[in-house]
Symmetry: C2
Subunit: 330 residues, 2 copies
């Protein structure tokens, strides 16, 4: 079998074969192997986080990752935003007739590897196949359940600090470089990664963390604006404190994209208690993965505005994303 055909989506013999020989083999675990229409799970608590994401990224394989790594990381990171330990993942694929079986196997292997890295298991799934040209390659939905480890207070106040865990805009820039055929310029690759380890890294400081949010679609600009709007606060961001690699800046200069609007897939924005923010950043910096974590600004009274301040004290408003930037980055 070289390619996926409609018969793999009919629910009959060939669907069963595909499920058993590819998915069950790779994702083998007690829940999945029970071969039920729904997984039955025994949780450790009654308090859970639940999230969903569909991935339509183009191209499917990009510098630093692929749709498989992305679909696990994206859902895991959404679970981490509610300070939960990601546990169970559902996996649903919509595949185009004629799709390469080799590519599908690579994606599935990447899903397996990233799941292991993130400590999650795939407990239920679904596979559909649609006619050629009715879907672009493969789209994947992952939904996830996490165990709430600690209840965040969900209150933000003036004087709270804004922390970012790593360099921004790496994922969006990698997609753009791939889309525009510019992979050769600099060392550009996606940061896509599961951030479940943040729960343990930040554990001792959990009482001082107000909020976590991952700056994916729309980048940090959209992330900051959503926080400002939802909590009716201002955000004052020190532009020169935002960690961003010069290669990323340069490539965006060439193609004319603003990195503040480009997605990260392995970065978290934290809002933390003002006096404890330095300790939190020091704790993050101990970890190689978060060595560039920094305080980049603070919450102000303001009026739902995000203000960007440069090193000369010049200020301007950073607006939410309005137009089409770079479709299908995730």
């Amino acid at each position: 079998m070289d390619t996926i055909s409609l018969v793999h989506g009919e629910g009959g013999k060939h669907t069963q074969q595909l499920i058993k020989e590819l998915f069950y083999k790779e994702f083998s675990n007690d829940n999945l192997l029970k071969d039920k229409d729904a997984a039955v799970l025994s949780l450790e608590t009654q308090s859970i986080a639940f999230t969903t994401d569909s991935f339509v990224v183009n191209p499917l394989f990009f510098p630093g990752g692929d749709i498989g790594r992305l679909c696990i990381s994206g859902t895991v990171n959404d679970l981490v935003t509610s300070f939960s330990i990601p546990k169970y993942i559902s996996l649903s694929l919509i595949i185009e007739e004629g799709f390469s079986f080799k590519a599908l196997k690579e994606i599935v292997a990447s899903i397996k590897k990233t799941s292991e890295e993130a400590g999650v298991t795939i407990v239920t799934g679904d596979t559909k196949v649609v006619e050629k040209d009715k879907v672009d390659g493969v789209f994947i939905n992952t939904s996830g359940i996490g165990i709430i480890a600690h209840s965040l207070k969900d209150i933000i106040k003036s004087g709270d600090k804004i922390i970012i865990t790593s360099n921004i805009a790496e994922h969006g820039t990698a997609i753009a470089s791939s889309r525009y055929g510019l992979e050769v310029i600099g060392d550009i690759k996606s940061d896509v990664a599961p951030l479940n380890d943040l729960i343990s890294v930040l554990w001792d400081y959990r009482e001082y963390i107000r909020l976590l949010k991952d700056p994916t679609r729309g980048g940090v600009a959209q992330c900051f604006n959503e926080i400002a709007s939802k909590y009716s606060v201002g955000l004052n961001i020190l532009e020169y404190k935002i960690p961003i690699r010069k290669e990323v800046k340069a490539l965006n200069g060439i193609i004319g994209l603003d990195p503040y609007y480009l997605a990260s897939e392995g970065v978290m924005v934290l809002i933390a208690d003002g006096p404890m923010a330095i300790d939190i950043v020091q704790q993050l910096n101990k970890d190689e993965k978060y060595k560039n974590a920094a305080i980049i600004g603070e919450v102000t009274e303001g009026h739902k505005k995000v203000v960007l301040e440069n090193s000369h004290g010049g200020k301007h408003v950073l607006r939410e994303l309005e137009g089409v930037m770079l479709p299908r980055i995730c």
Copy 2:
């Protein structure tokens, strides 16, 4: 706004508007309105069912239903198969650029109506938009969480009876009639419906029910074969006991499809304790919705085969689905 454009999928201002003005308005509930990347849920138990399904049905609107009613019913019914009370649904849409906003509103209204009927709430979601011709209209993923009401024993033995709750093949036939432009022949419409009420209807008999399975893709033929294969039993089915409407038979005769392989979306197959099966059917029959429920056969020692017996005692093997029958029925 008449149509959906790429900007609605960028994650910026227009995505936020679409989410708030359409989804939040229709699906308003405390969890959803918290506007988080993951819903935080307090469950009544630590024992849950978790399932996922992507819906790629063509056409989106068909006699008796639409993709909105289907995407809720399908996931609700998968939760019911593990005797759980469906509670929380995640909703993820992949929409084609240029898709009619009016059609999207109709689908969302149908999702809302069916969710209310099923007693589930939509607590988290995702919206993606892809370029024209990169997806066919709209594909929807729903994942669901149910509260396990009773643990099924999951043991099937010779002498157990096979019960079906309603007329078969109605959904597949409705899709076929629509696909072939035969809507005018007879009263053909999909049976798509959430079956969460089965948990209470069957509650007093829960100890006597071994298994529930919904005969969707691949119809009853696939459903029976999967049971036979998984539990290493034979299934002897009395063909003349299977409830099927004569209009459904007639239309399938015209288009040359075998109704045993056509999907139902509002039917459940039960395997029940032999001596209690009549009582269970009588209990089901009290409900107008299940007035055609019947015992249609029994579990035999056999060797993973499904045998169809006609009214003259003639027997033949009912095989699992091998070829392409009718793509994209769900």
